[in-house]
């Protein structure tokens, strides 16, 4: 568990002074609201958040009421949607995309009695704003290991969305562990410059396959890359992203990273009810159950599967950190010394490739 509790910081000191009473008191009935950036039917990012919302309903039955709004653009509309939610009597509002960061903080200032939870951001300007994220790079490490072991052409691919730290972190983790498993491995990255465009994602996968890549990971939202890999009759494998994508289990999908927000959502709403709710900056991974490694299929040899699962368990137990030195940056300058693990700050702002990756990050 790597949760950083901000109780000690000055920010929360202020929070206790302002709203101490409300924080300590429990609630009998909670209205939990969710703001989604995409449609629930995207089968990926938003779908998984909604699963988490439904889990809250299931866990507490009629003691909670859930409400949500999908397809909320990140620009000018977010602040209005949040304000209207706050006015409608929500007690806690989860804003599930990075782009809602400033709107979340702005609205939180106006409604000090309502709790706001912002996913993947870093701003907590008010005592009623918490942030949460998942350590997806932990899952990428396991994927990288499988990729390195499974590739026959020694070429592995990665379909990336936008060059933001979250994505770059995933690429680095994937590459480092593939390289560790197979020193001859080469990584090709294709930037799609979109989160969701199935046809383009399929084209990107095709381009990688045409280049001889036989293991594809993706950091875009649809299952299109797997569907493209499925056309090769088993020559190319890939991973489920965000959701399990189990429908490709008998085909190219050998494992997956599942975003599982349910434990966090259930926990936070529960804390609000029993009065133990506090402002936090949560960044949990495999250990907290937020990042799940989907079933590793029989396509993967038993020993590789065992290694991958051992790595997963070591990460969960806290005995292994995917970014453990020595690691150099792409230009050869040292980043982490022998045995040193990456500080969270470095990861959250990551804007460089590690040594060995060819190509530039788009600027």
């Amino acid at each position: 568990m790597k949760r950083r509790n901000l109780l000690a910081t000055a920010a929360l000191g202020l929070g206790l002074a302002l709203g101490g009473g409300a924080f300590a008191q429990g609630m009998d009935k909670v209205k939990a609201c969710f703001v989604y950036v995409g449609p629930i039917g995207d089968g990926g990012w938003t779908f998984q958040h909604h699963q988490g919302a439904l889990a809250v309903q299931e866990a507490y039955g009629d003691k909670v009421e859930i409400a949500w709004q999908e397809n909320v653009p990140e620009g000018a509309d977010a602040e209005r949607v949040l304000t209207q939610m706050a006015l409608s009597g929500c007690n806690i509002i989860f804003t599930t995309s990075f782009g809602y960061m400033d709107a979340t903080n702005a609205v939180a200032a106006k409604f000090p009695d309502i709790k706001f939870e912002h996913a993947t951001g870093y701003k907590r300007e008010h005592p009623n704003v918490s942030t949460y994220n998942a350590r997806f790079y932990e899952g990428r490490a396991v994927q990288g290991h499988i990729a390195g072991k499974m590739t026959k052409s020694n070429k592995i691919g990665y379909i990336a969305s936008f060059p933001i730290p979250e994505v770059i972190m995933g690429i680095n983790s994937y590459y480092l562990h593939a390289k560790k498993a197979n020193p001859n491995v080469e990584l090709s990255v294709v930037w799609a410059f979109t989160w969701f465009d199935p046809a383009k994602e399929a084209d990107a996968a095709k381009a990688l396959i045409d280049q001889g890549v036989d293991v594809i990971a993706s950091h875009t939202d649809s299952t299109a890359p797997l569907a493209e890999a499925a056309k090769t009759n088993g020559a190319v494998i890939g991973f489920g992203q965000a959701s399990d994508m189990a429908e490709y289990k008998d085909g190219p999908r050998v494992s997956s990273i599942i975003d599982n927000w349910a434990p966090y959502y259930v926990k936070r709403v529960g804390q609000l009810m029993d009065g133990t709710y506090e402002q936090i900056d949560a960044w949990e991974g495999i250990a907290g159950g937020e990042v799940e490694i989907g079933e590793i299929t029989d396509k993967v040899p038993a020993e590789v599967k065992a290694e991958a699962e051992a790595m997963r368990d070591a990460i969960a137990a806290g005995t292994y950190h995917p970014f453990t030195g020595p690691i150099n940056k792409q230009d050869g300058s040292p980043w982490l010394a022998e045995g040193e693990t990456a500080p969270d700050g470095d990861l959250l702002g990551m804007s460089f490739y590690v040594e060995g990756i060819v190509g530039d990050i788009p600027k």
Binding site: A67, A76, Q84, S351
Partner: protein, 361 residues
């Protein structure tokens, strides 16, 4: 057999009454859709049309938000309507809107953290320039090479979106943002912010500009020679040429004005409601404004009402989504229906429906 008969002059009654008829028809058709989806149709309709205006819990907030949401649509639509009247097809206002926001934000951030009263006006000028320049690409290609402006303006939207992503990730990225994409929040920098002028009214400079554009558009079309030339070029291009209207000048003017206004809308949004340049800054205003322009019959006052009505369906639709758990797709379909009915009932203004004795020709 039903037959349409053209009225000698448009019916003043139906001109006013047809939008109301359309809304009633939409309520019926939409109600049926909501009922099929398992929701209470009366409640859904009330939430969309009534609650944003009169609900005790929300209305004091939602009502001014109508202005905020409608302002960019109106501003862009006014510019587009001039071109559409003249037969100049700018489909790419979305791109001009994005470029306006980028230019405006860049101008402001270039002098950060200087505080001066001159910065905001300078940003507006830069934004207008950005939108204007982006519109000049199709305009110049059209006048020099006769390249079709629909294609150029439309494809430039995608180019602008790419530039937007580059800016959010690169040149305009907040240096204090820990590597995350997105610029500084302009609405939190006093010299660059475009806040509400009076709290709780929704009025910001963009709303003021939208109202001014409505007036200016009205005056231009009713009182000015250029307005006459625009109308003439659209209705009778050959006659316009004989009357000495230069088609090239008109293309430059119409695309220029629509680009300029779209660019301005972009700055007002990026300094106000949106607050920052981010990858997802663009939210389709440029395309929705095309609908607003036509719903308003390309008439500035009509556009004002059309913009407000669109804004109402957006805000009411948002309320309906989270109050009643309606999928956003149902709201989209509902908006589509409303537009269909608004467009269809307009026929009553210009035509009479007659039961004809003999077979229609």
């Amino acid at each position: 057999m039903l037959r349409l008969e053209k009225r000698p002059s448009p019916s003043a009654f139906w001109q006013k009454a047809s939008p109301f008829l359309a809304v009633i028809l939409t309520m019926i058709a939409g109600g049926i859709m909501f009922w099929i989806l398992g929701k209470n149709p009366v409640e859904a309709i009330r939430t969309i049309f009534w609650d944003p205006l009169f609900n005790a819990q929300f209305a004091s907030y939602s009502r001014p938000q109508l202005l905020v949401k409608a302002a960019p649509l109106i501003l862009i639509a006014i510019g587009l309507s001039l071109g559409f009247r003249a037969g100049v097809w700018n489909i790419g206002a979305e791109g001009q809107y994005i470029m306006g926001a980028i230019f405006g934000a860049a101008a402001g951030l270039a002098v950060y953290p200087v505080e001066s009263r001159l910065i905001f006006p300078a940003m507006l000028m830069a934004g207008a320039l950005g939108g204007w320049l982006w519109a000049m690409i199709p305009a110049v290609l059209k006048t020099v090479f006769r390249t079709n402006e629909i294609l150029v303006s439309l494809l430039l939207v995608y180019v602008a979106q790419n530039i937007l992503a580059m800016m959010a990730l690169g040149a305009l990225r907040n240096p204090d943002g820990g590597g995350f994409p997105g610029s500084r929040n302009l609405s939190q920098i006093p010299a660059m912010a475009n806040p509400e002028m009076v709290a709780g009214t929704g009025m910001h400079w963009g709303v003021v500009a939208a109202f001014m554009a409505v007036i200016a558009g009205h005056v231009l079309l009713q009182r000015h020679l250029l307005g006459f030339q625009i109308k003439l070029a659209g209705q009778a291009p050959r006659a316009a040429r004989f009357a000495g209207v230069s088609p090239a000048r008109l293309v430059i003017f119409c695309l220029g004005v629509s680009g300029l206004l779209a660019g301005l809308a972009g700055v007002f949004e990026v300094t106000g409601p949106a607050g920052q340049i981010s990858i997802d800054f663009a939210s389709g205003y440029g395309f929705t404004a095309i609908i607003v322009a036509f719903l308003g019959r390309l008439n500035p006052v009509g556009i004002l009402f059309a913009g407000l009505l669109m804004a109402l369906t957006y805000i009411g639709g948002e309320l309906a989504q989270f109050m009643l758990s309606l999928p956003s797709a149902a709201i989209q379909a509902f908006q589509g229906m409303l537009l269909f009915f608004l467009l269809a009932t307009d026929i009553l203004t210009n035509y009479r429906i007659r039961l004809s004795q003999r077979e229609a020709a």
